[in-house]
């Protein structure tokens, strides 16, 4: 006999509201159904009703953790629509901004993963060290979380020379502690018992279900926008794309922690290679009719913005494809066949970000069934 275990909308393992219907047989999972839509905010529509300069700030609010990459992706798309070239110094500032964000996002995720497997001490210590990255964001860009170095046509703020020593010190601290955590995660027997062979995503599945970011890289898919479609100053910086072969939760932990080490190296190179000069080019008020796609590697994977302009100061259409949205289909093969105890850590292993993913789900209140509205029905509604 199977019965349904509801996970969410409110559940201690979930940071944000979403609803999983997990079909279980005893402890074994036999089916997974996902219902999104609890935190849909209509940002894509809101972006088309604002001038580009205001939309830039709204794009940061899509996600509370990766706001710098969201603004960077929006800027990248809008800049190619408008044909604006970003000055050299600003490109390096963008790299430092994005990589600091990657460090704090990955440490935040590692802490949550530790919490999901009941390792509260590791959770607390990881978040203690995440503070170094947050402090640096505050020092350089003015705020711990909702701040970015990017601006339309360049950088929002310049990185001052007097802040560099502090940044270098924080990076050294982060490097030391990250190495320690890699050591802990690959040697602690309880962590290994909970994470190896759990939630395996094969390379084939990862390719077929279009997984992105660390989720795909942990399955051996060697793909990183920073290297394959370089933006900002990534084409002038040397770094490795970290991959693991196993595809289980431990591989996802190790990929993310090793990416932190790469990010630290990237920031160090960016500090050394940063040229002097202006940080911002003029951005026109009205943008000619055009369309473009801006892709960046967010901490969770490939983030894509599509922007179509119509000659006014507002975009006609903006489409956001967040990495979590691309990763949802891969949760099913990871969960089915596992046990209830694995649900939190497996769901957490793709580092889901619900509010940036959410789309409207239409649910019939009487029957509880969700359905899909066709394009014609929506047209009729509009009239």
């Amino acid at each position: 006999m199977t019965f349904i275990i509801p996970i969410g909308p409110q559940h201690p393992a979930l940071e944000e509201p979403t609803h999983f219907r997990i079909e279980v047989k005893g402890e074994e999972i036999v089916g997974v159904d996902l219902r999104l839509g609890y935190v849909h905010r209509g940002i894509e529509k809101a972006l088309t009703e604002r001038p580009y300069a205001h939309g830039f700030y709204l794009s940061q609010r899509v996600c509370g953790i990766c706001n710098a990459t969201h603004s960077l992706a929006f800027t990248r798309a809008v800049e190619s629509v408008a044909g604006v070239e970003c000055p050299d110094r600003a490109r390096y500032i963008r790299v430092i901004d994005a990589e600091l964000e990657r460090i704090h996002s990955h440490l935040l995720w590692a802490g949550i993963a530790a919490h999901e497997i009941g390792f509260t001490t590791l959770f607390m210590l990881l978040w203690r060290d995440r503070e170094h990255a947050l402090d640096m964001r505050e020092l350089l860009f003015g705020n711990r979380i909702y701040a970015t170095g990017t601006y339309l046509g360049g950088a929002r703020v310049d990185i001052e020379q007097k802040h560099i020593p502090q940044l270098t010190r924080a990076l050294a601290e982060l490097e030391k502690s990250t190495k320690h955590y890699i050591d802990v995660c690959t040697s602690d027997r309880t962590i290994i018992a909970r994470c190896t062979g759990v939630g395996v995503l094969t390379k084939k599945d990862a390719r077929e279900l279009c997984a992105v970011g660390p989720t795909a890289r942990a399955s051996g898919v060697d793909f990183d926008i920073r290297r394959d479609d370089p933006y900002a100053a990534y084409d002038e910086i040397l770094f490795d794309v970290v991959t693991e072969r196993d595809g289980d939760v431990l591989a996802k932990v190790v990929v993310r922690l090793r990416e932190i080490l790469e990010s630290i190296e990237i920031i160090r190179q960016a500090i050394d290679a940063m040229p002097k000069g202006p940080i911002r080019a003029k951005f026109p008020e009205n943008v000619p009719e055009n369309e473009a796609v801006g892709r960046v590697e967010a901490p969770r994977g490939e983030l894509m913005y599509y922007v179509r302009s119509n000659g006014t100061n507002k975009p006609e259409r903006v489409r956001i494809r967040t990495p979590s949205y691309a990763n949802w289909p891969s949760v099913r093969p990871m969960l089915v066949g596992g046990t209830i105890a694995e649900i939190p850590i497996v769901v957490a292993s793709i580092d889901p970000c619900f509010s940036c993913t959410d789309r409207v789900t239409i649910v019939d209140a009487k029957t509880g069934k969700s359905r899909i509205e066709t394009k014609e029905e929506l047209r009729r509604l509009r009239k």
């Binding site: 210590l125 105890a341 649900i343």
Partner: protein
């Protein structure tokens, strides 16, 4: 008359409800404080547990309609009562406990399992999938740790000349030194410490109430005064489980005279219990939670094997 009053005092004050609750809540508070420091936090004050329980008593008692049954409502009191009964059977101040029977240890092992059985019933009666899952996990875990616990206790019984009376075990240790320091019984001591970690549902064995998986397991639907009683019962269980280990392996209550001042046995007893609580706190802060199948496999191999080795050594050598 005097005897009756003595029993009433023993039941309500020392070493019964008042004493056991105070010690249990205090141990839990210290446990939370140490946890805080290990996790690089300040942690709550050590009397936080008293405040929490007091707050729960003042709260409204909400019982979901699906859970409203005799079993669900009665379980907290039954579990609390069973643990107080264990306290009365334990030699806490002197070698002589308040209550004795022919085979103390068997009675205690039975009584110590009543809270666990209560929790299972509560989970199944709560009409909630988290409670049901928690209970089924608890059943599995009970079979895991109980085997190691009983074999380890049996090794001590064999060493003390097959005496099931706790006072004679304490007397034996007063003459021959602690059981934990007998070479043959060292494996059993390690085994019972691990089994106690499972009995107390502490990391890595907090599987039946794993908060990130099944909310709070069997306790999910409890609130207000009932939850408060269950919390006190859990804290007393923390004290009682460590106390049983102290009685069996660490000499039980021993009175001392330091500089002409007589120190009753209960002081040393509580210090030893505290030591075990701290050890358990350390373990629970340096590990991740296991899965239930891994836990069962672990319990039936490592601790059970250690306990069996001890029993074998005691009986044969």
């Amino acid at each position: 008359m005097i005897e009756t009053l003595g029993y009433i005092f023993a039941y309500f004050v020392f070493p019964g409800i008042l004493f056991a609750s105070a010690v249990g809540l205090l141990f839990m508070g210290i446990d939370r404080k140490i946890t805080g420091h290990m996790q690089h936090r300040i942690g709550p004050p050590i009397w936080q547990e008293f405040l929490d329980v007091g707050k729960l008593f003042c709260k409204e008692d909400v019982t979901p309609a699906a859970a409203n049954s005799f079993v669900f409502n009665f379980v907290p009191l039954l579990s609390f009562g069973a643990l107080i009964a264990v306290v009365l059977f334990l030699p806490i101040n002197s070698a002589q406990p308040v209550l004795t029977s022919v085979a103390d240890l068997i009675v205690i092992i039975y009584l110590l399992n009543i809270p666990a059985v209560c929790m299972m019933l509560a989970g199944y009666a709560s009409g909630c999938p988290f409670g049901t899952t928690g209970s089924s996990r608890y059943v599995v875990q009970l079979f895991g740790y109980e085997l190691a616990f009983i074999i380890a206790a049996l090794a001590v019984v064999a060493k003390a000349g097959w005496s099931l009376s706790l006072s004679s075990i304490v007397t034996y240790q007063a003459q021959n030194g602690w059981m934990a320091f007998q070479v043959a019984l060292i494996p059993a001591a390690i085994a019972i410490l691990i089994a106690a970690q499972g009995k107390l549902l502490r990391v890595p064995f907090d599987i039946p109430e794993a908060e990130s998986e099944i909310v709070h397991g069997p306790l999910t639907e409890y609130s207000g005064p009932k939850l408060a009683i269950l919390r006190i019962a859990y804290d007393i269980e923390l004290f009682v489980a460590t106390a049983v280990i102290v009685v069996l392996f660490f000499g039980g209550p021993v009175p001392h005279t330091i500089g002409g001042v007589y120190i009753p046995g209960v002081v040393g007893f509580l210090i030893k219990c505290f030591g075990i609580v701290v050890l358990s706190t350390l373990i629970r802060n340096i590990a991740a939670r296991l899965r239930i199948d891994q836990a069962l496999k672990f319990f039936w191999t490592f601790p059970t094997l250690l306990a069996a080795i001890s029993l074998f050594l005691v009986m044969v050598v």
